[in-house]
Point group: C2
Chain length 270, copies 2
DNA sequence: CGACGTGTTGAAGGAGCTCAATCTAAGTGG
DNA sequence: CCACTTAGATTGAGCTCCTTCAACACGTCG
C-alpha cells in the first residue's frame, strides 16, 4: 500500500476501511497537495463561523469539535483521533458550524478545499469513500444524541469509553482495553453533557467496581464486557462490519464481536 | 424547473438549495426510477439492522428516525418532512444503524440503491448536492447533541420548535410561525430526551408566557423572537445562507435574518 | 515559593423523573 | 344515538440524579 510513512497514509488507510480503491485512486489520495502544520494544545483548527479554505487531516494528536451554547457552555460534539479527516464537513459546507480545537500538541495537514473537491469529482471511488466517511461521522453523531438523551451518566460515560477503545485501536493508537485519552474531566463533562464534578464521581464508580481506571491521560479497561454492558454499547453504529474483508483488520473485527459477546477481563494492569 | 407536480420535484428543489444543477442534471434526478408506496401512520420505512435495497424519499407526511436504547427507551434522532431524502445514509451504508418510521400516513418513493449510486457517480454535481445534503443532516445532528447536552428542557423545546418552523417553511409546509406538527407529547419527549409529563409542563410554560401554543397537530408561534431567545436559536447550522442566491427563497432567508434579530410578534392567532 | 490547572470531596438544592389518577376527544360497535 | 374503548393530555406528590457552590489536595512550572 505504497509508503506507510507518508503523512496521509493513515487517512488513506481509513478510507480503505469503507471501499476498495484502485492503486491509481490510492496514489491520487496520497498525491493531494498539503501543507503540514504544528499546533499546540488548545489551538484552533477551525473556528465556528469561518469560511474555510482547506480541509484538515489530523496527522497526530487529539482534537475535538465543539459548539458554544447559551451562556458560555461548551458542548463537544465529536472527538477526533490521528488519521481522521477533521474537517471535510466544514470544507465542503460554506461556513463552519462548529469549531475544531486540539486537545494535545498535534500535527495537521491542510489540503486546499479545491483540491479535495477536484479529487472527489474526478474519482468517483474516492468520492464514495469520503462521502462514506462523512456518513459514518453522522452515525456516530446519532449515537451521541441517543447517549445524551436516554443514557444515565454512568451509561453514557461507559459507552463513550467503549467507543474510544474501538476507534483508537482501529487507528493504531492503542488497544481496545488500554489507550491514551488526553481529556480532562472537564473535557469529558463537556462531551457527555455533565459537570466535571459528576464525571469525577462517575469515573470513581467505575473504578470502584473494578471496571476501568483512568490514570492521567491513559485509560485502562479491566473488564470490557461489563463496561459495554453498563453503556449498552454495540459497535454496529461504527459500521466496521461494512469494511471490505481481507484487510489487516479482519482478526480485530472478529475479536471485537467476541468481546461484545463474552466476558474477557483484562486485569493485568489493575 | 420542469414539472412542479413531479413526485420528486420537492426533493430536486431541496437539492437545488445546496448547489447549481444543470438542466441535464435536474432531468437526471427526476428521471430516477422509483416505486411509490403508501404508508400508514406508524409504518416502518427502514428497520435498524436492515440491509436496505433502496433509498426512500418522503413525498408527503412526517417521519422520524430513531434508535432503541437500553430497556426499551426510544430516542428520536431526526424528524423528516416532505421532500427529505429520508434514507440516503442507510442506502449507502451497508447496514441501517437506526429505524425510520412514519408519524402520519405518508407517501414515499423508493429509489433502487444502485440507481442512486450510479447517478452520483456519473454526475459529479448531483453527487455534490446529495453529499451536501447529508452534511447538513450531520450539522443538524450536532446541534441536537448540543441541545440534549447543554440546554434545559425549556430551551431545548424552544430550539426544536424554531428549527421545525424554519425547515417546514423551507419545505413549503407552513410558515415560520404556524405549521403542522403531528407529534404527540410522547414523541416530543423521545426527541428531546424528556418524559412526556415534562414536555407537557414545558409546553404549558411556553403558552402561559404567550410565546407559542400547540393545539392538536398545529403549532402557533406568537412571539418568534422570544422563542428563539429561549432556545438560543440561530439558523446558521441549517446552512441556508449557503444557498445559491437568486432562487425563490431569497426573500424568506433575508426575512429569517430579520426575525432572528428583532421582535416581530404574531398574535393574530392567540 | 507561589500560581495555576486539575482532581477530589462534602453538603444542599433543583430540574426533571416516576407513579398514579383524572380528564378529554375521537372513534367503534350495538 | 349512546355506552364503551382508547390514545393522548393534564395534574399532583414524592423522589433522585445531577448540579451548584465551596473547600481542599496535588503536581507542575514559572
Amino acid at each position: 500500500m505504497s509508503d506507510p510513512r507518508h503523512p496521509l497514509a493513515p487517512t488513506l488507510h481509513k478510507l480503505l476501511r469503507w471501499t476498495v480503491l484502485s492503486p491509481d485512486d490510492q496514489a491520487a489520495v496520497l498525491d493531494l497537495p498539503f501543507r503540514q502544520r504544528s499546533l499546540r494544545r488548545g489551538d484552533h483548527v477551525v473556528r465556528e463561523g469561518d469560511t474555510p479554505t482547506h480541509a484538515s487531516v489530523l496527522l497526530s494528536g487529539f482534537a475535538y469539535r465543539h459548539k458554544l451554547v447559551g451562556a458560555g457552555d461548551r458542548q463537544i460534539v465529536a472527538v477526533q483521533v490521528a488519521g481522521d479527516i477533521v474537517d471535510l464537513q466544514n470544507a465542503l459546507l460554506r461556513m463552519a458550524d462548529h469549531s475544531v480545537q486540539t486537545m494535545t500538541d498535534a500535527q495537521v495537514a491542510d489540503i486546499p478545499r479545491e483540491a479535495v473537491r477536484r479529487l472527489a469529482m474526478e474519482r468517483p471511488a474516492v468520492c464514495e469513500a469520503m462521502w462514506y466517511d462523512t456518513l459514518v461521522d453522522a452515525s456516530v453523531h446519532r449515537e451521541w444524541i441517543a447517549s445524551r438523551g436516554r443514557r444515565s451518566a454512568l451509561a453514557a460515560l461507559s459507552h463513550f469509553l467503549c467507543e474510544l477503545g474501538v476507534r483508537l485501536q482501529m487507528a493504531g493508537q492503542g488497544t481496545l482495553t488500554r489507550y491514551p485519552l488526553p481529556m480532562t474531566q472537564e473535557d469529558l463533562g463537556d462531551a457527555l453533557g455533565l459537570t466535571s464534578v459528576h464525571v469525577n464521581r462517575t469515573l470513581k464508580t467505575l473504578s470502584a467496581r473494578g471496571i476501568m481506571q483512568k490514570r492521567g491521560p491513559s485509560v485502562f479497561i479491566h473488564d470490557w464486557k461489563r463496561l459495554a454492558d453498563e453503556g449498552g454499547f454495540s459497535p454496529h453504529y461504527l459500521h466496521l462490519q461494512d469494511a471490505q474483508r481481507g484487510g489487516p483488520d479482519e482478526v480485530f473485527l472478529d475479536g471485537l464481536q467476541d468481546l461484545a459477546r463474552q466476558t474477557r477481563p483484562d486485569r493485568s494492569l489493575a
